[in-house]
């Protein structure tokens, strides 16, 4: 199985793994922890993101009923605020790391790689800060109907 660079230590090929299923499991360091994070956050996002998509976009009129008053009602609940904040953080980390893995595969020049990865990391961090501020500071009582 092809590995992209020597920077990614991989376990000896187990032989049982079917072809065409991506890279091997990393054995240590940053790549191992991000590998594990992708799977654990993925399981959490299976509930958070799939639940979010079904509630907001499919069931009960979907996005047709989503307006300011709907968010106001929804974010009056600490449960939904926590749901949305956790989803924000996990989805951004999962997505930005996913982009990093893809860039590692397709972008060879080290400088371009660093530039693209830095761009998405800074963008992800900025959006995490923005989203956190909005979720935490939003007070439904500030906007009387």
């Amino acid at each position: 199985m092809a590995t992209t660079t020597d920077a990614h230590p991989v376990a000896p090929a187990p032989g049982a793994r079917p072809p065409g299923h991506g890279r091997d499991r990393p054995v240590r360091g940053f790549e191992l922890w991000t590998w594990l994070f992708m799977r654990l956050s993925g399981i959490a996002l299976l509930v958070l993101a799939v639940g979010h998509v079904l509630i907001m976009h499919v069931l009960d009129e979907g996005v047709d009923r989503v307006d300011f008053a709907f968010i106001q009602l929804r974010w009056a609940s600490l449960f939904w605020k926590s749901w949305d904040w956790l989803m924000l953080v996990l989805a951004l980390l999962h997505g930005v790391n996913g982009l990093r893995v893809i860039v590692l595969d397709y972008v060879r020049p080290a400088g371009v790689r660093l530039a693209i990865n830095s761009f998405f990391t800074v963008l992800g961090a900025a959006l995490m800060v923005l989203g956190t501020i909005v979720v935490v500071t939003f007070d439904p009582a500030d906007w009387p109907a």
């Binding site: 793994r17 079917p18 065409g20 399981i43 047709d64 307006d67 300011f68 923005l130 989203g131 909005v134």
Partner: protein, 139 residues
């Protein structure tokens, strides 16, 4: 460039002579990447449009009205499909990674993933599709 030295299957078939066909798992892997990139690019925009809620009802309702458009709603259906495929396929990957014994059932897991995806997309396409048609008839 001695042709008689070519030994691998790919070389015998000719380097550019035939359409490359990958293992089916490879298409799942490619779709996982494509849907993942689509979702994160949408998410970047979605965090910003949701953040507008902090500027009050006038600003937010103007942003939310973007969804009152049949084409945007078609994209929305695509987004839901991408999230579901990425999630179900992600579960398949995680199961095989954490329980290597499941490799023997890789094909069955792949079929189950596709069936679960199609099975869930049928009612969702119906629900969202009728809403899109209603929106088209309205305008």
């Amino acid at each position: 460039m001695a042709t008689e030295d070519r030994t691998t299957e790919g070389d015998r078939k000719g380097r550019f002579g035939r359409l490359y066909k990958g293992h089916e798992g490879q298409y799942g892997w490619l779709l996982h990447r494509v849907t993942g990139v689509a979702i994160i690019l949408f998410l970047f925009a979605h965090v910003v449009d949701t953040a507008v809620v902090g500027w009050g009802p006038d600003a937010y309702n103007r942003v939310a009205s973007v969804y009152h458009n049949p084409f945007v709603r078609l994209l929305e259906l695509g987004l839901v499909a991408a999230v579901l495929f990425h999630s179900f396929n992600g579960v398949r990957i995680t199961l095989i990674d954490f329980f290597p014994g499941l490799t023997r059932h890789a094909r069955a897991l792949g079929v189950a993933t596709i069936l679960l995806f199609i099975g869930s997309m049928i009612p969702i396409t119906w629900i969202m599709g009728t809403a899109i048609i209603d929106l088209l008839l309205e305008s």
